[in-house]
Symmetry: C2
Subunit: 245 residues, 2 copies
């Protein structure tokens, strides 16, 4: 048996955003753009994650950060490397074979997959060279390669992670209402939460700071605005492993 030769290494970025208007967890995807068999570039009728090869002197993390910046302009976002995908057949589904020159299939392609949590409002989807678009996680378009699998694994990881750590605030504006936070949890976890209990629990957290501000431009009683203090969270909750099982 032989070792894999000339493998390709890339990063792929699953970008999560939250849209308060539709109350949906969204994914930023781009139109697929491939080299066809005759050497010209073709736009394939499906969507993919943004990803790219890694530069010679670049760390994996830096590479992912760069790809995200090119796509969104953002630099200081929540980022997590969640899994590497490298099955020998991961790019060999029938549909993809039509587009890519078979030569490419002689080389293993391993991708280190990251997910990002961004504030949708911070992203101008038209400010990049891609045809980027937000899609609700509940209504994804046709996806290229094995990117649906990658997305679903990122989503599973996010579900677990957002219950363990207050990363949910990465998806919201700096100032938010309690109900907005509840909506995000409900959208991500696909569950119903009792508002009164949720409210009490969240307000009691030391790291949730009430501001001297209320919502403006709403046609009902305006809600109190809060902010999340990462500082306080990190000082108070520094890893104490307590049994719960």
């Amino acid at each position: 048996m032989e070792f894999i030769k000339n493998p390709n290494i890339s990063v792929d970025c699953v970008v999560f955003g939250y849209d308060p208007k539709t109350k949906s967890l969204n994914l930023l995807l781009i139109k697929r753009y491939l080299e066809s068999k005759d050497g010209s570039e073709v736009l394939v009728d499906d969507y993919v994650l943004t990803g790219y090869h890694i530069y010679e002197h670049e760390t994996l993390d830096d590479s992912a950060t760069r790809v995200l910046k090119e796509l969104t302009g953002l630099t200081n976002t929540y980022k997590k490397q969640f899994k590497a995908f490298g099955d020998p057949n991961r790019l060999k589904n029938e549909k993809d074979m039509l587009w890519i020159d078979n030569e490419a299939f002689n080389f293993r392609t391993v991708t280190i997959a990251y997910y990002f949590l961004v504030k949708t409002e911070d992203v101008d989807v038209n400010k990049n060279k891609y045809q980027a678009k937000w899609f609700p996680i509940t209504d994804l378009p046709e996806l290229g390669f094995d990117h649906e699998k990658i997305i679903l694994e990122a989503y599973e990881d996010l579900k677990v992670k957002c219950l363990a750590e207050p990363i949910i605030f990465e998806l919201l504006p700096d100032k938010f209402t309690i109900n907005e936070v509840q909506d995000v949890y409900q959208s991500i976890l696909n569950i119903e939460i009792d508002n009164r209990n949720f409210r009490r629990k969240l307000i009691n957290k030391k790291y949730i700071i009430p501001l001297d501000e209320k919502q403006v431009g709403v046609s009902k009683k305006p809600a109190q605005l809060y902010m999340f203090s990462k500082d306080i969270y990190e000082k108070m909750y520094q890893k104490n492993y307590l049994i719960s099982m």
Copy 2:
């Protein structure tokens, strides 16, 4: 800028075991064996994780499973891919430069790291071609490459994971006592647990089955033996995401 050329892809395996006698979480490491500058093989005076290149038609998971089997003979163990390491300088520390031909440094080496939980009793450390040895996680030897970093990240992941899922039983014999389970938690998390509360909590789990057996060969009141039912666990606890934060 150039993309990385001819990268090396491998898997590395962090093997955790638990020793009931010393009540310590252990790691299975091997003596390092390298090609020196003149082409001969040298035994370096430090330890490393077992790892290996990936074969041409092998998935990442299969590759890790193969490496573990070569090392321990075991095939049905708990396995988790927890992180990829691929910094451009990850193999370039001074000590390693002495041993490896500099040529090797022209190529990026990305490793997909897995950790395994095994039952120490099932492993015969001398049944492989390596000089494998168990080390307490609290007293690791000098480690080659960036393997200390890899181990520490695996350990962090294990701590979180063992609180979220009952993977701890992967480290224990099929038949165990309540106190043994407590000892494992204490060793992994480095905490003290109240035995009376822990006992009550664990016994109340539906997936902890009391057996018609007691400890033998102990010079005190022999403890009741229990088993873990993965079946029952999986049937009862299928992912329901409940808010706790």
